[in-house]
């Protein structure tokens, strides 16, 4: 399992480096902005809180792409370069292979949440007026991020298991939340359901969570049932 984890990490090294960039770049921008505006402080009491609040929010947002890339490439990435055939010729149980890939996806998600998620949560919870103005419902925002992230990764994982195309899998994952949110809003309008924004958000988050979990379960189930690499 240790060697498998190492292999999966190395196989997806470019995505991981890209993801690291997605995590760091917004904060580097924040540092740069703070440095340039050091004497003026933007007229705020805690400008650094505001800067890193925004950068961690931006980091969370673009890290959704990292999640999609890693989940979409997890299985299909080895099929497209046919290294999955080499792996399939080795005496490794498919459940071990899939578990290693799941661990990688979950680890990436955990790192994103442990850094940008935690930072954003802490800064937003500090209750500064600037953050309060910019993110009045930050708890709901974080919950929505989690639901959308789960939907993106679950759908990308499912497509990765079904197809040989990482591109298609990533695309399917990224498209799913806008499709869910747009579709729900359209249904609300079409059937005159008169859901409030809060209700609509909750409903979308529920669908995202369900689809994400279902995607992971269905993708794993299909991979385990399949004989071919």
């Amino acid at each position: 399992m240790k060697w498998l984890l190492w292999k999966d990490y190395r196989h997806n090294r470019i995505i991981l480096l890209l993801g690291l960039g997605f995590l760091l770049v917004p904060h580097l921008f924040a540092l740069y902005a703070l440095h340039r505006q050091a004497s003026q402080s933007w007229g705020m009491q805690h400008p650094w809180q505001y800067a890193f609040g925004v950068s961690s929010y931006a980091g969370l947002l673009i890290s959704l792409l990292t999640i999609a890339l890693i989940a979409g490439s997890a299985i299909a990435g080895e099929r497209v370069d046919r290294s999955a055939e080499f792996l399939a010729s080795l005496p490794i149980a498919r459940r071990t292979i899939v578990a290693s890939k799941l661990v990688l996806v979950m680890t990436i998600a955990a790192v994103i949440w442990a850094t940008d998620g935690a930072l954003f949560g802490c800064l937003a919870a500090a209750d500064s007026p600037e953050m309060g103005r910019l993110f009045p419902d930050w708890q709901k925002g974080l919950a929505m991020f989690a639901a959308v992230g789960l939907a993106i990764s679950g759908i990308a994982w499912l497509f990765s298991s079904l197809t040989t195309s990482p591109m298609l899998s990533v695309w399917a994952g990224m498209v799913s939340p806008p499709a869910i949110i747009g579709g729900t809003a359209y249904m609300n309008h079409l059937f005159e359901l008169r859901m409030s924004d809060d209700q609509l958000g909750l409903f979308c988050a529920g669908i995202c969570l369900t689809l994400g979990i279902a995607g992971f379960i269905a993708g794993t189930w299909y991979y385990l049932r399949r004989v071919e690499p």
């Binding site: 240790k2 060697w3 190395r10 046919r82 055939e85 005496p91 490794i92």
Partner: protein, 304 residues
């Protein structure tokens, strides 16, 4: 030396069938290969050799039938089959970003058994650079690496799918004489699919001919070559044989020359041909494996 304590055949295929949509890849293939034998699986491109080997490795699900490898049902326990079998595929897809040393470490971690000494010897024999990345290896060197990976865990059965294509003659010789011969002498079972009939002739004791997914013929190689003959007969002017003799694999008439390739040849069969109306003279020609292969395939093409 690895020798299975279990008895029973090394390979047992019972009505193994694989369909790809409407195309039949392997058609009700039934075959038994005893332990310790070296079996040459021959056939033209698309005959179903690779498909059969992939099903034996549990990398392709059969549409119908059953495959038992070393007494294990492949569908039920493919991981155990892979533990005990060495496999060299036709095309190599080893992780291109790995260094040779990393490939060896990765594969070693997957197998219960791994002979470090064999591994070291083959690294030296093949001149593999452990620091080199797979993507920087030549095709021939990738083949050598694949061969090393197939034998380093001391498999009881080797499945070789066109293993030597891409190897230069010297490396081929080294592998055939140095590695495969040792394996054959140890009593391990080998199934080798190859277009290089000379290599098969040198190693195999039994051969099977596949054509369009069907097993046309399976026999001990020496017996087969001894019992299959080509007969060249001279026909009288305007004479043509009305019927092919029993056991005809392929026949051709060109001008006054009638050439027949016969299975289960006996002097009586030669007598029958000589007694055929219009035959003025008939002589027997010995066949090599390549000629037998060609005649068998030609005969099937004419028949179909």
């Amino acid at each position: 030396m690895i020798a299975s304590t279990e008895t029973g055949p090394a390979l047992e295929l019972i009505g193994l069938t694989k369909r790809f949509g409407r195309t039949l890849g392997v058609d009700r293939l039934s075959l038994t290969i005893p332990r310790g034998s070296v079996f040459g699986l021959l056939g033209p491109n698309g005959a179903g050799k690779s498909t059969t080997i992939r099903m034996l490795m549990g990398m392709l699900a059969p549409t119908d039938g059953q495959a038992r490898v070393l007494g294990i049902d492949v569908a039920a326990d493919p991981v155990e089959v892979k533990q005990r079998v060495g496999y060299v595929p036709e095309t190599h897809h080893i992780y291109r970003w790995m260094r040779v040393g990393e490939v060896l470490g990765f594969c070693k971690s997957c197998f219960r058994k791994w002979n470090d000494q064999t591994c070291r010897e083959l690294v030296e024999l093949f001149g593999l650079d452990l620091e080199k990345k797979v993507k920087h290896l030549s095709k021939g060197t990738q083949v050598k690496l694949a061969l090393l990976l197939a034998v380093a865990h001391e498999p009881e059965l080797l499945l070789l799918d066109e293993p030597l294509s891409g190897l230069d003659p010297i490396a081929r010789e080294e592998f055939l004489d140095g590695v495969l011969r040792t394996i054959c002498e140890r009593g391990q079972t080998v199934l080798i699919s190859s277009h290089m009939l000379d290599d098969v002739r040198r190693l195999a004791d039994t051969v099977g001919f596949l054509y369009e997914g069907r097993l046309l013929l399976q026999d001990n190689l020496d017996t087969l070559l001894a019992s299959t003959k080509r007969i060249s007969a001279t026909l009288g002017d305007g004479c043509r044989p009305t019927q092919a003799p029993d056991g005809t694999i392929w026949q051709r008439i060109e001008g006054r020359e009638w050439i027949v390739t016969l299975r289960d040849f006996t002097p009586e069969k030669l007598g029958q041909i000589q007694a055929t109306q219009g035959v003025e003279h008939a002589s027997v020609i010995d066949l090599g494996l390549e000629e037998l292969f060609k005649d068998l395939i030609r005969g099937q093409r004419v028949a179909s």
